[in-house]
Amino acid sequence: MSGTEAVEQAYRLLQSEAKQKVEAGREKPVILLGTATCGRAAGALAVLAAFQEEIDKHHLDVVLTETGCMGHCYAEPLAVILKPGYPPLVYGSLDEGKARRLVNDYLVSDDPCYEFAMAALEPNDVFPTFADYPRGIYEHKIILADCGLIDPGEIGHYLARDGYSGLAKVLTTEPDLVIAEIKESKLRGRGGAGFPTGVKWETCKNVPGIPKYAICNADEGDPGAFMDRALLESNPHQVLEGLTIAAYAVGAEQAYIYVRAEYPLAIKRLRTALEQSQGWGLLGRDILGSGFNLEIKLFQGSGAFVCGEETALIASIHGRAGLPNHRPPFPATSGLHGRPTLINNVKTLSYVPHIIRNGASWFRSIGTPNSPGTAVFALAGKVVSTGLAEVPMGTTLRNLVYDVGNGIKNERKFKAVQIGGPSGGCLPESSLDLPIDFDSLQQAGAMMGSGGMVVLDEDDCMVEIARFFVDFTQKESCGKCTFCRLGTKQMLDILAEITRGQGKDEDIDLLQELAEDIKLGSLCGLGKTAPNPVLTTIRYFRPEYEAHIREGRCPALMCKDLISYRIIPEMCSKLCNVCIGSCPVEAIYTRPDMLKGIDPDKCVKCNSCVSACPPQYKAVVKLSPPVVEEVVAEAVEEGMSEVEQGSGADH
C-alpha cells in the first residue's frame, strides 16, 4: 500500500467512526444552543440551565448541545431544535420562559411554537428559511457555514462534515503543489492588508533551513470586530486544519496560536480542540501516518492592540515587550527566533481547508477578480441586525447595511459607516453603492482591516468619531516611534479642542498635514493607518468640522460642550414630572407656572430627560450652539428662530 493510500484510508476510518457517532444521535430530538460569548452575554447560560432542568423534569431523551455563534448576534440567545418529522427550526431571543415552553410544547407535545421561530434551516412547506429573507439572499457562508450548527467541543461533528479532508488531501501532495493551489486561488490575507497568502507561503517555504514556524494570529483587537472570536469559539477545528495545512506547506513542525487572554472561552474551546485532534492522530507525531509532525502551542497575549502587528507579536512570544520592528526583514524570512515564520490571520487560515477541498477555481468563482472569496463583517452600531455576516467580496455597502443589516435603527437617517476599525475610515452615503473589496476600500480611503463595520446615523458626530478612534490608537500606541507616539497625541489634542468648540480655522489643514505625515512616517502598520479615521472624516465630512470651529455648533448634537438642553414650554405637559425624576443631578425644576425648566449650571448633559420625556410631548430638545438660559421665576418666551430642534424630539 502506498503512502498516499495509507493516509486516505486512515482518514476514511476516522471519518466513518465520527459519522457513526453523529448518526447515532440523529434519532433523538436535538437542541443546539449557541453559547459563544455573544450568546452568553445575552443570557444563554441561564437558558441552557432552563432547558436542562425542563428536560430532566420530563425525563426526555433529548440531546442538548452547546454550539457557537450563527452570526445572528442581535437575536441571541439562539437555539436550533431538530426533531424528527419537523423541519430544523431556529429560535431567537430566547429566555428561560421560552426555553421551558419549547420543551413543554414542542418536545413533549408537538407544537413547534412557530411564534418564537426565526427561520427554518431547510426548505419545507410550513416555515420560511433564512434564504427567504434579504439577509439570506446576500449572504454566502464559507467559513461561517458550520458555526452554530456543530459542537465545537466534539471533533466528530467537524469530521462528519468532511472536516480534515483537506488535510488528508494535502498530506499526500507535494508542499509546492499546495502552495500553487493557494496562489492560484488568489486568497488574500484577511487580517487587514490583503497580502496574497500564497506568495507569503512561498517566500517562507523558499527560505532554506529548519526549523520554521507557523503562527495563527488571533490577537483580534479592533473595537467592534469579533469574527475571529466567533470562529475560534464556534469552529476551532477549521482553524486548526488550516494552520496544519499551512505548516505542512511551508515545512514548519512547530506552530503557535497567538490568542488574546481576553477571549477565555475561545482559549478553552481551542484547548479542547487541540487535545481531541491530538487524540485522533490529526496533530502531533506522524499525522494520519504521513510522517508529518506538528505541534501547536497556545500563546496568550496580554491585551496590547499592537501585538496584532506581526513583528510585535513575535517580540511578545519571545517574552519581550510587544514592540514592532522595522520590516524587512519580514517574518517570512526572519521571524520567531530569527527563523522563517509564517503568520496568518484566523480567517485566512479558515478559508484554506475549503480551498483545498473545493479547488482554487471554485474559490475564484466567488467575489471579485482581484479579491476572490467572501468577506466576514461584524455589523455593529446603529444597524438593526447586528452580528456577523459573510458576503461575497464586491457586495455593495447598501446591500450590507440595508438588506443584510435590515437598515438603520429607529428609522433614523444613515450617515456613514466606519469600516475597518481604528485603521479604517468613515465612508459617507455617496459610497453606499461601492462594491466592497480590498482595493475599492483602499481607494475610498478606508481599509478592509479586520472587517469591523460600525454603522453611524445622523446622531453621530463625525469629529467625535474621529476623536474616539484616534484616542484608541493613541492609547494603544507602543510609543516606540516619533510619528505614532507624538503625532497621534497631537491629532487627539486638536480633535478634542474642536469637539469642545475651541478649534481654529487652520486646525483642519494642520490635522490633514499631520495625518498624511504620520501615515508615511510611522514605523509599523498601527501608526501608518491610525490617521485614516481623521483623513476620511475630513474628506467626506469637512462641513461638520467647519460647523464646530466657525459656529461652535455640533450638527449631530453630540458634542457635550456645544449643546444645551431646553424644555419647550408649548410642548411640556405641566402635570408630568418624569423629567424631574430622570435627572440624576436635580437640574430640572418646576417653575411657578408649573412648566419645567433646566438649570444650565447643574445640567451634566446626560440626555436622560430627552429619553424620559413621554413620546406624546417630546418637549426636551437639544440646542447647538448652546443657548444659556437663565433660571426663571417667571416664564420668558424666546424666539425659536435660532433654535435647532434636537434629536429625539423632532419625530
Binding site: 515587550a321 522595522h326 493613541q474 510609543g479 516606540k480 516611534c481 516619533t482 510619528f483 507616539r485 512616517g521
Partner: protein
C-alpha cells in the same frame, strides 16, 4: 576585507562597504542625514526616531536610511520636498515634547537637535504644534550626571549602551504610548538602582537628557572679565 560598492548620493559618487547601512555610508562621506536613534555599533537598527528619511531611486516614497543596506548602483537623494516635509514634522513632533531652553542647557552647541535645525533650516521653537510637555522632575541622584526626562527624545541610545556595551542592565523603556520613558526598574532614581554610574549612557545621549553636572555648572560660571 568586505567588498566595496559604488553608489550615488546627492549626485556624488561614493564608495561604501557592502552591507553597510546607507545612513553611515552617507555620514562617512560627509553627507549629513538627520538621525538620533541609530548607532553604528548596534547590531540591529531600532528605526524609532524617524528622521533619516531619504529618497532612493526605484523605491516608493521616502525611506529610512538606517534600515537600508547600500547596494551597487544605488541612487540616493537626501533632500526632496517629501523628505523635507517628513523631517520637519518629525523634528517638530520631538520638539513638542522637549523642554526647550537651549541657552541654559548643558548640551548647548553639542546637541543633535540643534545640529538638525542648523543643517535643515528648521526653527528651534514650536510654531505649528501644541506643546505636549509634562512637568517631570530631574533625577539628580547620580554623583556626576543628571537625567532630565523632559528632554529625552526616546532614541534608546543610553539603553543600548547600558545593556549591550557595558552590560549593566540598569535602565530600559517603561510604559507605552505618550507615557513611554527611559527609566530604572520600578522607575526609581538612578542612584538607587544597579546603575554603576559609568557614564556610558551620558556619552551617547544626543540631546540634553543625560548630561554631566560639570557641564551644567559651567553655564553658571561668572563671565571672566578681561
Amino acid at each position: 576585507m568586505s567588498r566595496e560598492v559604488a553608489l550615488t548620493i546627492d549626485d556624488r559618487q561614493v564608495k561604501a562597504a557592502e552591507g553597510e547601512r546607507l545612513l553611515w555610508a552617507a555620514l562617512d562621506n560627509g553627507i549629513y542625514i538627520p538621525h538620533l536613534c541609530d548607532l553604528r555599533e548596534a547590531e540591529r537598527t531600532v528605526a524609532s526616531c524617524r528622521l533619516c528619511f531619504v529618497e532612493v531611486e526605484g523605491l516608493r516614497g521616502p525611506v529610512t536610511s538606517c534600515t537600508l543596506a547600500v547596494s551597487e548602483g544605488m541612487v540616493v537623494k537626501t533632500r526632496s520636498p517629501g523628505v523635507d516635509r517628513l523631517v520637519r514634522t518629525g523634528f517638530e513632533l520631538l520638539l513638542s515634547n522637549h523642554r526647550l531652553h537651549c541657552a541654559k542647557c548643558a548640551k548647548n552647541k553639542h546637541c543633535e537637535l540643534q545640529k538638525i535645525a542648523r543643517e535643515r533650516g528648521l526653527k528651534l521653537k514650536l510654531t505649528r504644534l501644541r506643546s505636549l510637555l509634562q512637568d517631570v522632575p530631574i533625577d539628580e541622584s547620580p554623583r556626576h550626571f543628571n537625567y532630565d526626562a523632559g528632554k529625552c527624545v526616546l532614541c534608546g541610545r543610553c539603553i543600548w549602551a547600558d545593556q549591550e556595551q557595558v552590560r549593566v542592565g540598569a535602565i530600559g523603556f517603561i510604559r507605552r504610548g505618550i507615557a513611554r520613558k527611559m527609566a530604572t526598574f520600578e522607575d526609581g532614581c538612578l542612584a538607587d538602582s544597579i546603575c554603576t554610574q559609568c557614564e556610558a549612557c551620558v556619552k551617547v545621549c544626543p540631546v540634553g537628557a543625560l548630561y554631566l553636572k560639570a557641564d551644567e555648572l559651567r553655564l553658571y560660571e561668572p563671565k571672566k572679565k578681561c
